[in-house]
């Protein structure tokens, strides 16, 4: 095994409501949806189906006019019940009423021994039309990869350090063969290496520890050590002009399944987590599932917020909303619409803080205390006051304060030279959490990335 990369900076947000490692019995939701808004790169989506059409799992639903080869496919078979548009006819959701038995489009199937014979172009074509391609994300910018590019390397982080994140060792149990096939396919797409980020702090299950044809890298540290962006920074940082791809472990497995089984298999193990869930546990479902079945009778009576994804990078959805394409968890936390008397002054051990300013005593609790945190902003937005705290939670040789300022000033040269290519939203989310002045840093970073991308 390779050497360990130790990361001292960072902060673990230990929330209440960890999913118990067992698969719950639950009916499948009736509807599933694909949301173009989940894919940052999509600018001009074109819908390929109409309401009332029947589709199979793997039938293309839409593509982006800028990138016509990449098809976004239906996760399940059934009937298109709604194509939901918002203001200015912006495409929001394509909803599918699922069949009881999922029927899949049939693609070419390969035996394990034939995988090595597949050529790059054949692999790419199959991935594009079957719906697995959007699993591949390009850095810089964090957008769906362009199939004509040739990345310098491919990176896979096998663990997620976000609050209440799923344990990939559990969700991918029994998928070893698919995972390995996925890696073999990815190896065909790059001239460089396929890098695997492993967590030294936890037991690494067979699926990751015995993966072949990869370059393993062990990481040891608090969140965001599991972020693939942080790992890239320490393995082979992205400079101007570089292009690398990242895939999450679920995506790798899905790619492997496509080649071995000949179908787009969107089945997915997700976790229902958060302090307001009565029985947080794992569920077997499909990508884009409606969350209503999982939360039924399983959430406290408080006013709660449903989040697709985790509390740092996720998105608020309704109680009948749909899980995002890249998300593997639902988090349910209390809404914080109370106005607290002298909330800024009274000492507290219950409120989690990275800071130790007067009265913020959560550091005395030790790291095993689990917190119930609501959505209150806990203060008002203020002008930037530099406290050096961003740098303390960013385990990279990057100065987030200066980068953010460069973005606000729209200084292209500084954005580049301060490392904007190495970051996407998830890499700055922790800064946003600890920010004293309560700025929306992820939004600002995306605006900067858009400026650079379109320049």
């Amino acid at each position: 095994m390779s050497h360990t990369i130790k990361l001292k900076k960072g902060f673990d947000i230990n929330l209440a409501g960890k999913a118990e490692k067992k698969l719950a019995e639950c009916d499948q939701p009736e509807t599933f949806a694909i949301k173009p808004t989940d894919f940052i790169g999509i600018q001009r989506p074109k819908v390929m189906v109409n309401e009332g059409d029947t589709v199979k799992a793997g039938t293309p639903l839409l593509f982006c006019k800028m990138q016509e080869d990449v098809k976004y496919c239906s996760p399940v078979s059934g009937e298109i019940v709604e194509i939901k548009r918002g203001a200015k006819r912006k495409l929001l959701e394509i909803k599918i009423l699922a069949d009881k038995e999922i029927v899949s489009e049939e693609f070419k199937k390969f035996a394990t021994t034939d995988i090595s014979k597949i050529v790059k172009q054949e692999a790419i074509e199959l991935m594009l039309k079957s719906g697995v391609w959007p699993n591949i994300i390009q850095r810089p910018y964090g957008i769906v990869a362009n199939p004509t590019d040739s990345p310098k390397a491919i990176f896979i982080s096998t663990f997620d350090t976000h609050p209440l994140a799923v344990d990939q060792n559990f969700t991918l149990k029994g998928e070893e063969n698919y995972f390995q096939t996925g890696i073999d396919i990815l190896n065909k797409l790059t001239k460089g290496k396929v890098n695997l980020g492993l967590n030294e702090n936890a037991e690494i299950s067979y699926i990751f520890s015995h993966a072949k044809n990869v370059e393993p890298h062990k990481f040891n540290g608090k969140h965001p050590a599991g972020n693939v962006g942080v790992q890239i920074h320490h393995i082979d940082p992205i400079s101007k002009g570089d292009l690398v791809w990242t895939v999450n472990p679920y995506g790798v497995t899905q790619i492997g399944k496509l080649f071995l089984e000949g179908k787009y298999d969107a089945s997915k193990v997700i976790a229902l987590t958060g302090s307001e869930v009565n029985n947080p546990q794992y569920y077997q479902t499909y990508t884009g599932a409606c969350i209503n079945k999982f939360i039924e009778n399983n959430v406290t009576d408080n006013e709660v917020r449903f989040i697709s994804g985790n509390v740092l990078t996720g998105e608020k959805i309704k109680s009948d909303g749909y899980i995002g394409f890249y998300h593997q968890q639902i988090t349910v936390i209390p809404e914080g619409r109370q106005s607290e008397f002298l909330g800024w002054l009274l000492p507290t051990m219950e409120k989690l803080s990275f800071h130790k300013a007067f009265g913020l005593l959560s550091f005395l609790n030790g790291k095993n205390k689990e917190y119930r945190i609501d959505t209150n902003t806990k203060g008002e937005q203020r002008t930037f006051v530099q406290t050096g705290v961003f740098e303390q939670v960013t385990p990279m040789d990057i100065l987030p304060t200066y980068l953010i300022k460069a973005i606000m000033a729209e200084d292209y040269d500084d954005m580049e030279s301060l490392g904007i290519y190495e970051m996407i939203e998830e890499d700055i989310a922790l800064c946003e959490f600890v920010d004293v002045s309560k700025h929306n840093l992820q939004k600002i970073l995306r605006e900067g990335l858009e400026l650079i991308k379109n320049s």
Binding site: R337, L345, A357, N376
Partner: protein, 399 residues
């Protein structure tokens, strides 16, 4: 609690859009958020939860760190008064004199500064920035107790207006606000902020042999007259007690001086609070002290004049060095912002302070000018540190 909530709810419509006092909403909001943390929630994208910290709490921490120095300063005003006038006063009487003298200065400082802040807040439509809560307390602590109140008001208005608001408000200023106020007084009204102004006498006459100068002035004078500084300190104001300017007295703060700056001990307690809570940079505090001490040692070695021969540790306890190092130099807005830069910034403040003290008899107090000077240079220091970071990235790209 419920009652206060109801009062705010009752009058809120007056300040909301279309209300009678619509324009004063920032003012209303400031008071409301002082009592209640607003019920705002995070937007649907971006982080869904936020850290419990906010700017109010951060600033409150600094104010709490200043409390030991302030309380000691208030008592010391009465204590110096009783020494100088020869009256025997009880602890409570001394404290009372201090309160009568210092409280009006604090009130004037806050009132004048907040007025300017509110006018700008209303003009720009945002609620009050908490930064002034600290500046408004710092200003009274760096002036002599005999300061005329109108000068406090004028200096505060000047500092907030010219030192801060013209640059865009809190977070944008280049110079430390409280030091801008003091520098303004120093250059505009030198006779009220230098000489025998450090002891509050009231309408009483001082006892024979009393001189009202600070330790810095004595050291300066000794140097000019070619006498050993330590001897001069030992022989000064002996009417107030033998060894009035002994090292321990200087350290503990039983000496005349600006209201909050005399007691190095109390300031160190404040420093401990700032460092433990992580609000003040320990790097800056340590490096200012370190820079001053090492420069003192170097001067001891050169020993060209009497002031240079003063034991280096005296530099740390006389004048306002400790106060400046802990409460002024650490101001996150005007200090350097990179971690390496903080070392350079702090050390240079310490070095400059001692150089100004020793070589420039016109300005006995070096720390004020040293910090203001380094405030101006802080962006330059950061520029080079950030450039280093950029260059590492550029070099990597060419390989």
């Amino acid at each position: 609690m419920k009652i206060i909530k109801n009062i705010f709810e009752k009058y809120k419509p007056l300040f909301e859009q279309g209300g009678k006092f619509e324009k004063l909403m920032p003012l209303f909001e400031t008071f409301e958020t002082l009592f209640f943390v607003p019920n705002r929630v995070t937007p649907s994208q971006g982080v869904q939860i936020r850290d419990a910290v906010d700017l109010k709490r951060l600033m409150m921490t600094v104010i709490i760190a200043m409390v030991p120095s302030l309380l000691f300063g208030i008592w010391n005003v009465g204590h110096q008064h009783s020494l100088a006038t020869g009256e025997t006063l009880s602890f409570m009487q001394q404290a009372w004199i201090g309160i009568v003298v210092v409280l009006p200065i604090i009130i004037v400082s806050y009132a004048s500064g907040l007025t300017v802040e509110f006018i700008f807040g209303i003009k720009k439509g945002h609620s009050l920035n908490e930064g002034f809560l600290v500046s408004g307390m710092l200003i009274p602590m760096v002036v002599p107790p005999t300061i005329p109140l109108w000068q406090v008001a004028l200096a505060t208005v000047f500092a907030v207006l010219i030192g801060k608001e013209v640059f865009g408000g809190t977070g944008m200023n280049i110079l430390n606000v409280a030091l801008s106020a003091r520098a303004f007084l120093y250059f505009a009204y030198p006779s009220q902020i230098s000489g025998d102004v450090w002891t509050y006498l009231g309408d009483k006459t001082p006892i024979d042999g009393f001189t009202g100068g600070t330790s810095l002035a004595i050291a300066n004078e000794a140097s000019v007259n070619s006498g050993a500084v330590v001897d001069a300190l030992a022989n000064s104001n002996t009417v107030l007690g033998a060894d009035f300017y002994s090292f321990s007295n200087l350290f503990l703060g039983f000496i005349p001086g600006s209201i909050g700056e005399t007691s190095t001990l109390m300031i160190l307690i404040g420093a401990a609070i700032l460092i433990i809570t992580g609000v003040g940079s320990w790097k800056i505090i340590v490096s200012v002290f370190g820079g001053a001490y090492l420069t003192g040692l170097l001067f001891n070695a050169i020993a060209a004049n009497e002031y240079m021969m003063m034991p280096a540790e005296y530099h740390l306890v006389i004048g306002g060095l400790a106060f400046g190092a802990v409460f002024m130099a650490t101001d996150p807005v005007t200090a350097t912002q990179t971690e390496k830069g903080k070392w350079i910034y702090g050390i240079l403040i310490g070095v400059l302070t001692v150089i100004i003290r020793v070589f420039n008899p016109a300005y006995p107090e070096g720390i004020m000018l040293a910090i203001l000077l380094m405030n101006v240079f802080a962006p330059l220091i950061d520029f080079y540190i950030v450039k280093g970071n950029k260059e590492r990235r550029i070099q990597r790209a060419t390989v």
